[in-house]
């Protein structure tokens, strides 16, 4: 089954083109890794693909249905979006509790009464993630780590078929980051397809089979992870000579070989003190 299909998809804000002619197909049991530099359109891509941001030019099929204003809410309830970049545009004074409860309805806020079972399940996840004490705090007062965990719970309260993860580990300490990476492997084993945006090669585990490189809103390349994360392809993507080594356990060693691309700071030489001290 095809979970997501984007055809000739573009997205603009004013005169600025954020995404251009994206063609992308995600099949069941596929996990994707999205890599891109800052401002390459990763957050926009995930927000649109998950149905949260209204689509513009081109077509999107989500979970086998063309995504429209009429079925968007229903489809959003079957996928999860974890994006602090996206949600921090809309959440400010909302409490963590209310933000998580909104997850049951596939949009920002709550659309109906919750059952006891739904409330208890959300509370259980909050305890598991260690953020039950933050439940009354407004979003703007939460640490980045608390926000990430809250948004992840929000996406998991209904078991999603696809989980769009936009830099979910940023702002987390090393222990929680490891916990989350293990959790993602578990979610994959539970049959959830993961679409993972990261800046860090050390967050890439061996559960990802596919990859896309995004540059200035355009897809540079996509396909099998081993082909995309290939030295030649990445060198072209970064406009720089890079080396990459993917180990069997999925760990990646990445190095920039261009000496002229290395950032070197020449500190101004201090004049020797005349007294020699």
């Amino acid at each position: 089954m095809v979970l997501l299909e984007m055809k000739d998809f573009s997205y603009r804000v004013g005169n600025q083109v954020l995404l251009k002619n994206i063609n992308w197909t995600i099949k069941e049991h596929e996990n994707w890794l999205i890599l891109g530099l800052n401002g390459s359109g990763k957050t926009t891509l995930l927000s649109v693909a998950s149905g949260y941001l209204p689509s513009e030019d081109g077509t999107i099929n989500l979970l086998g249905e063309p995504l429209t204003v009429h079925n968007r809410r229903k489809l959003c309830q079957q996928v999860g979006l974890v994006s602090e970049n996206f949600f921090s545009k809309y959440f400010r004074n909302e409490t963590m509790n209310d933000i998580i409860f909104g997850g049951y309805y596939g949009q920002l806020g709550q659309l109906g009464d919750l059952t006891d079972k739904q409330i208890l399940y959300a509370r259980k996840l909050m305890r598991q993630f260690g953020i039950n004490q933050s439940s009354r705090k407004p979003f703007w007062l939460l640490s980045k780590g608390e926000r990430q965990k809250g948004l992840l719970i929000r996406a998991l309260v209904h078991k999603p078929q696809m989980l769009f993860l936009d830099e979910p580990c940023s702002g987390l300490d090393i222990f929680v980051r490891m916990q989350l990476l293990q959790l993602f492997s578990h979610l994959f084993n539970e049959g959830i397809s993961l679409i993972f945006v990261s800046h860090h090669f050390d967050e890439i585990t061996n559960i990802y089979q596919k990859a896309m490189l995004l540059r200035q809103g355009e897809c540079h390349s996509q396909g099998e992870l081993t082909q995309i994360l290939h030295a030649e392809n990445l060198s072209d993507f970064f406009h720089s000579n890079v080396q990459i080594d993917i180990q069997k356990n999925g760990h990646i060693h990445f190095e920039i070989c261009d000496k002229q691309k290395a950032l070197v700071i020449n500190f101004p030489k201090q004049e020797a003190n005349k007294n020699g001290t």
Binding site: P54, E56, R73, D98, Y105, L108, G109, G112, P138
Partner: protein, 111 residues
């Protein structure tokens, strides 16, 4: 009940569970082609807010103020903690009234 209709009715009837101000239904996420997903919003608190029945809010406010109820002992006593306490009592009262069948999606019924 269909969600948009439910939200429209709540915006006419319900108030913010924190401050008691009326709610507005509006699009928070939109682009040049229009809005997406009606949300309930409290202009006073500037937050997306599902709201509570006004009669329940009045009871919760009275309870917190008259009995100096404070669930959040670790917080400084100020208007923020007062509003959080009112919201907490609103949740408890709404839950209880739903359990005994007085409160439904259409609002408060008669006992």
């Amino acid at each position: 009940m269909e969600h948009d209709k439910l939200l429209e009715q709540r915006s006419k009837r319900c108030v913010c569970k924190f401050c008691g101000h009326p709610l507005k239904s509006k699009f928070i996420i939109f682009n040049k082609y229009g809005g997406q997903g009606m949300e309930l919003f409290c202009e006073h608190c500037q937050r997306i807010e599902y709201g509570v029945e006004p009669e329940i809010y009045q009871l919760a406010k009275q309870f917190v103020d008259d009995f100096e109820f404070n669930y959040y002992l670790d917080m400084d006593e100020n208007n923020i903690s007062r509003e959080l306490n009112i919201a907490k009592i609103n949740e408890i009262l709404s839950w209880a009234m739903k359990k005994v069948g007085i409160l439904t999606e259409e609002g408060l019924g008669k006992i």
